[in-house]
């Protein structure tokens, strides 16, 4: 390579094209991205990664747009990653979160990237965490991550964001919904958007009852904020709630253990990915392993025993 600097230096130095290309490489699983991710990792883990999740159509993209405007006015630079689903049929995708974005085209303080989920479940793409790291390395003060329109169990954002905003709207259900496991458990901040519509007070009351049951296992009691993206109102309060949670994390004695747990999960996830893809490939190409598969197909061997032979458990 005759270029004077590598992609990592270019990204850290503020080269937005290099950043955009690196994101493409990372999300495509291009091996050339590995040294880059290795190089930037020591620079990451310091800024707020704020996740917005919630069912489809609650206004996540509109809130992201308003938050970007507010944060830019306050002099903060913002990276945004917005994820939309890939088609299970064609693998294609319509990424439409950008249409809400209003910003000056020459403003280098914002970088907005749309991502397709590419088959991952849980509300994010497999590489969203690494893309957020690239944005951090590029020098943004904070990163907003918008998930796909989530269902009750789409809680991968919990592993990626430092503060999770769960966005809801009035009339999504009665208070029993707030007791259910999943989405409602991961909120650091509840945002009741479209609060210009009737019913927002009731929704707020249900969530307040939930929050009054006590703080979560980490000791944080979820805040509740009513917002409207059309009026608009509630956005400064929403950001204050996020900042309060970030301050709580900074002072929390348990937080380092939580970060350790997440990184441990990430390593395990990566190992799972590597082992699974290697074995999937060998089952196709390695004649011995094909015979093993033949025996399973003939019902002479069960799948669990075959798996044990592929991945020795290290037991005596």
């Amino acid at each position: 390579m005759s270029r004077p600097r590598g992609p990592a230096e270019a990204i850290v130095g503020g080269d937005r094209r290099a950043l955009a290309r690196a994101i493409t490489a990372v999300e495509s699983g291009d091996p050339s991205a590995d040294p880059l991710l290795r190089a930037i990792f020591p620079r990451t883990g310091r800024i707020p990664i704020v996740g917005l999740t919630g069912p489809l159509g609650v206004g996540k993209s509109s809130l992201v747009n308003l938050l970007v405007g507010q944060l830019r006015s306050a002099g903060k630079t913002v990276g945004v990653v917005a994820v939309d689903p890939s088609s299970p049929f064609s693998g294609g995708s319509v990424l439409g979160d950008r249409i809400r974005l209003e910003r000056r085209a020459d403003d280098d303080g914002v970088f907005f990237r749309s991502m397709a989920s590419r088959g991952a479940v849980g509300g994010l793409a497999a590489s969203t965490r690494d893309v957020a790291r690239l944005l951090e390395a590029a020098g943004f003060d904070l990163v907003l991550v918008e998930t796909v329109g989530s269902g009750q169990v789409d809680v991968t954002i919990r592993e990626v964001a430092t503060t999770r905003i769960v966005v809801l709207v009035p009339h999504l259900g009665d208070e029993v919904q707030t007791l259910k496991a999943g989405l409602f458990e991961i909120a650091d901040v509840f945002c009741i958007n479209k609060s210009d519509l009737p019913g927002s007070e009731t929704a707020e009351r249900h969530l307040a009852e939930l929050a009054s049951l006590g703080p979560g296992p980490d000791g944080w009691r979820a805040r509740i904020v009513r917002t409207s993206a059309v009026q608009p109102f509630g956005l400064p309060e929403l950001w204050k709630a996020v900042e309060a949670h970030e301050q709580f994390l900074a002072a929390s004695p348990d937080h380092p253990a939580e970060l350790r747990r997440r990184l441990s999960e990430e390593i395990v996830g990566r190992v799972r990915e590597l082992v699974a893809s290697e074995i999937a490939e060998r089952l196709e190409s390695d004649p011995d392993l094909r015979k093993l598969l033949d025996r399973v197909v003939a019902r002479q061997l069960d799948p669990r025993s075959a798996a044990d032979r592929l991945v020795p458990r290290g037991r005596a």
Partner: protein, 138 residues
């Protein structure tokens, strides 16, 4: 799976420059490209050439599709091409659709718009052209 080499989906930006609000065509094309397996970044209505080029670069697209029915194509399309050149990204192919008279279409092609589709074009034809343009630029 991330370590396995495979072809990443084509990323295409679909945007409407200018002030008309007729986005039905752009949406239908977005949907057809999605069904052809592409990742379509739909930027929507009333995008300035600056916004379009900015989005294309941030999203690192392989292809840009512009739809216009306002009649301002002779002002806006060349501006998009100029800005792409200025940003050192002239290799991203631009294709277009809308109400564009034949003689304007000829001039736009000479300026570098790679394909222009008028009313009545089949979706299959647009998808085929988009696939070819993306492949050549890859």
């Amino acid at each position: 799976m991330a370590t396995k080499k495979r072809r990443a989906p084509v990323r295409v930006l679909i945007a409407k420059p200018g002030l008309d609000g007729h986005d039905r065509g752009a949406k239908i094309v977005a949907r057809a490209l999605r069904d052809a397996g592409m990742e379509v970044i739909y930027a929507g209505l009333r995008q300035t050439p600056e916004e379009i080029v900015r989005a294309a670069l941030e999203e690192d697209v392989d292809l840009i599709g512009l739809s216009i029915l306002s009649g301002a194509h002779m002002a806006l399309f060349p501006k998009v091409l100029r800005l792409l050149k200025k940003e050192k990204a002239p290799a991203i192919p631009v294709f277009a659709g809308g109400i564009i008279p034949d003689e304007d279409a000829r001039r736009l092609r000479r300026l570098g718009v790679r394909a222009i589709f008028g009313p009545g074009t089949s979706l299959a034809e647009i998808v085929r052209a988009a696939e070819q343009l993306a492949r050549r630029s890859a």
